[in-house]
Amino acid sequence: MASVEVTRQRDEEALIGNPWPLLVSGLVTIALGALLSSLFKDAAPWLTVLLVSVGAVAVGGAVVVRYDSALVWGLAALGASVGSVGFQEIGWDSAQLLFIVLMAAAGVGALLALLPTTARWIAISALIVLHFGGILTAICSANGTWVAATLWNYFYRPHLQFMYLNNAYHFYSPEPGPAVLMWFCIYYEPNADESKNWRWVKVPDFDKEGHPIRPDGRRLWPNTEYTRRLSMVESINFPEFRDFSGITLVERQQRRAKAGAFRHIPMLDDPDIPEYRAPNEISKIWIEAYVRHVARTYRHEKKPELAVKSVKVYRVTHKIANAKQIADGWDPYDPMMYLPYYEGEYEPDGSPQNNFLVEDGLPDPFLHWLIPILPEHWRERAPFRPGPPEGKRINYVLIHAGVKDEDILP
């Protein structure tokens, strides 16, 4: 009796006290959208999307008005299930998934509304444990326990991925590392005399004052978008530790040295810097996607009619100058601070090319190897002399790419 009075009082005070018009109209709209999608399939997908979405908002409104009614929640779950069918018919698989999730959420809401207070608290407590347990598995499964990894894989993965709660929160750990950049050398159709047409695209790029810019020279603003570019490049920086190719690292090194001697591209020979670093599978997928993007987006600056023939990709680690270097007067943007790794040459459609420079039937010997930037006469340089080496830097990336320097690369 008391609850009836409370409801009545609430109805009087609320702007919308009666959920049923909203609920019924929402359900009818969703049903209409689903029916349209079944009858006409691809003829009017937008109508289905519009009707189901509007209907869902109306049903959501009804739930807000009467959130303590299991019936309203139950009918909302029904509406979500009908909506998921509508999206299935028009091939919007992710929206279908969303409505299945909404259906499950509304189902849980209905159950919670049915329960007495104590039981409801117990159920919500279980949900709290489940929720934060899931986040804990995301934290621990990266390099962690078998239990966390197994729970993540078999139980939590769908929830965490759907909700985007999969972050392990390992910010700047174990150590803050250097940022990574991408350099693309886009090759267009050659001239009649077989000379090359090319263009460099750097992500991110900077103007003379050090402000981030887009490849077309416009300022990259606001700063969030710049950070997004850095994250984007970081996504190709995940190394692959397994190697099932049957080629040992020593063999790779010999091939690299041989090809380097042939093309006058030395190795760095710095024991602190790994010169070979292959990306993992997911990084390769992203590299191919990025290649497709640059091939489609960036025309030759002077001859935009030229078609793209191939794209060479360099993943560039920008070393952080240590305190001694800064004290010694090194420029943090000294070309030698850049460590470019060659990640292959690709067709405009993103498929990798294999350039058999050394005729041994194996892929490009420079693939995943560092192509250094060194000072002129670097071998003759006296050791342990403080300060940055004097003289011109030779960017061997330009030699590797087979193009001239246009002051675009460091």
Binding site: G60, S94, I124
Partner: protein
């Protein structure tokens, strides 16, 4: 907010009962949703900014030919393998993928380094409208719609609905461009999820203004007193959402701190250099900053002390916060340390929005009295006015209700003339303080049936002048004062609200005089 570890009920009974009682107190005690509203306003603004920033990059990040194009995304969504750890020790014997049995398997191994029979599952479960909407014009329509929704969420309009839609909109961007994400997106997502759970529209929102308007209108229409107060009702869901934020934030700091302990640079104290001297993040491209770093590096003892202090401060904050912030004497110190940490991250690493999102999460620890102090800040020095109306006039009741709706800091007292002759039981003086009754007295008889506003100086205003005075006086409307300066606005307003005396009509009678015997005073 009930976030006071030292306030909880004294323990009694056995340990299990105490744990259960404390658990219930922690998660299920009601708390004031004002703080949640404040966080919504803050996070909503940041979310709006982040989404607005997408406008320039809509095609580059989410279009069919984006950096991650639909082809790559489809592969990621449907084929990406997830290999679970085995339930026996067989994975230790495995050296390479299982041998392929057909061409498809060979291709799969070449692609993913795994036999397709090996992964536990494939694909990524996610929702994004950008998987399906790929036409540039429609993309812009959807993007603008999302911006509108986020704006409505920010201002708190239909917050229960727009909070869910905002989260879905943000999720759409997030899941479409998985390689462009960073910590800011994680924090934004957490904030939106928890704001969606709690009644984040109960304060600092258009919803709360509408409630003020609606309840005033309903009461006045029914010849009942307007509600004396519109303070949001404490709710369990508000506490629940704040607790989720608090707990999640502690988890973030603890994990971040503990994982740093694995790094040699954090032990040697040089890790901070890796952030402030990183050429892509830090302001090192400015001469002054580089000069500062050179000065620091040229004095090793200073450099070592600074770096060690920075690393120690970071670790102390991240490892200390999850434990000490719950203790009231330590709370402010931990909050200040955390804000300093994020200020440093914003300045030296350029991660402004990330830092602000973290501040949004940190706000969940603000004590209730601080929130109340903050809420009441605009009321200091505010002008107090009286609005006289006739509750028999439907139009005046509506106008008064609108004013009441916009009067978030209760600067306007309502005076109803229509009570003369009405039975005493219907008067509302009983709900008001005697001071209110006194101060409501007095307006010239010539205005008694007309809507008019009495300023603190005793001036009476009618017609458009009421609007002008309200805009100049009500804290919520003061940002719109410049609108009054636009040429022609006054003339248009005067035409819309014609009266005999749009300008002020001179000083009204003193408050202590000519108070009609049964005049109504409505707060």
């Amino acid at each position: 907010m009930s976030g006071r570890a030292d306030d909880r009920l004294s323990a009694s009974g056995n340990a299990v009962t105490n744990v259960a009682r404390n658990w219930i107190w922690f998660w299920f005690s009601p708390s004031d949703p004002t703080l949640l509203g404040l966080i919504r306003l803050f996070a909503g603004f940041l979310t709006f900014w982040v989404c607005l920033a997408y406008t320039v990059d809509l095609q580059e990040l989410f279009g069919p030919n984006a950096w991650v194009d639909l082809q790559a995304l489809q592969e990621y969504r449907t084929e990406m393998p997830y290999r679970a750890r085995s339930f026996d020790w067989s994975e230790a014997d495995r050296n390479g993928p299982l041998p392929p049995q057909n061409e498809d398997e060979r291709r799969y191994i070449e692609r993913y380094g795994l036999n397709p029979r090996e992964p536990h599952t494939q694909g990524y479960l996610a929702f994004s409208i950008w998987y399906h909407v790929t036409d540039p014009r429609w993309m812009m329509v959807v993007h603008v719609s999302i911006l509108v929704v986020v704006f409505l969420f920010m201002v708190g309009f239909c917050t229960r609905i727009t909070s869910v839609l905002t989260w879905l909109g943000v999720l759409s961007y997030t899941q479409r461009a998985p390689t462009t994400l960073f910590g800011m997106d994680t924090m934004m997502n957490l904030l939106l999820i928890y704001l969606m759970i709690g009644p984040s529209g109960a304060a600092f929102s258009v919803d709360s203004l509408i409630v003020r308007y609606w309840r005033t209108w309903r009461a006045l229409r029914a010849r009942r007193p307007a509600p004396a107060s519109f303070k949001p009702t404490p709710r369990i869901s508000a506490n629940f959402a704040l607790r989720c934020m608090q707990f999640n934030l502690c988890l973030i700091y603890f994990t971040s701190g503990v994982s740093k302990l694995l790094g040699q640079a954090w032990w040697s104290g040089t890790a901070v250099w890796g952030t402030i001297a990183n050429p892509e993040f830090s302001p090192i491209h400015y001469e002054w900053f580089l000069a500062f770093l050179r000065f620091l590096a040229s004095h090793r003892w200073l450099w070592e002390v600074s770096m060690t202090a920075g690393a120690t401060f970071t670790l102390a904050t991240e490892l200390g916060f999850p434990f000490l912030v719950w203790l009231r004497p330590w709370r402010w110190l931990m909050l200040c340390m955390a804000v300093m940490l994020h200020t440093g991250i914003a300045i030296f690493m350029g991660l402004n929005t990330f830092s602000l999102m973290m501040v949004g999460l940190l706000m969940s620890f603000l004590p209730p009295e601080t929130v109340q102090w903050f809420v009441q800040l605009p009321s200091h020095g505010a002008r107090h006015l009286r609005l006289a109306f006739n509750s028999r006039s439907r139009r005046q009741v509506r106008a008064v209700s609108v004013v009441r709706g916009l009067d978030a800091w209760e600067q306007v007292r309502l005076v109803d003339h229509a009570g003369r002759g009405r039975p005493t039981g219907e008067t509302v003086a009983s709900v008001n303080s005697p001071a209110s009754v006194d101060s409501a007295s007095g307006e010239s008889a010539s205005h008694s049936d007309q809507l008019h506003l009495i300023t603190p100086e005793g001036e009476t205003r009618t017609g458009f002048a009421i609007f002008e005075a309200l805009v100049r006086s009500l804290r919520l409307l003061q940002p719109f004062i410049p609108l009054l300066l636009i040429p022609g606005v006054r003339r248009i307003g005067t035409n819309w609200f014609p009266t005999d005396d749009n300008a002020h009509v001179g000083p009204g009678p003193r408050a202590s005089r000519s108070q009609p015997e049964n005049q109504k005073v409505i707060r």
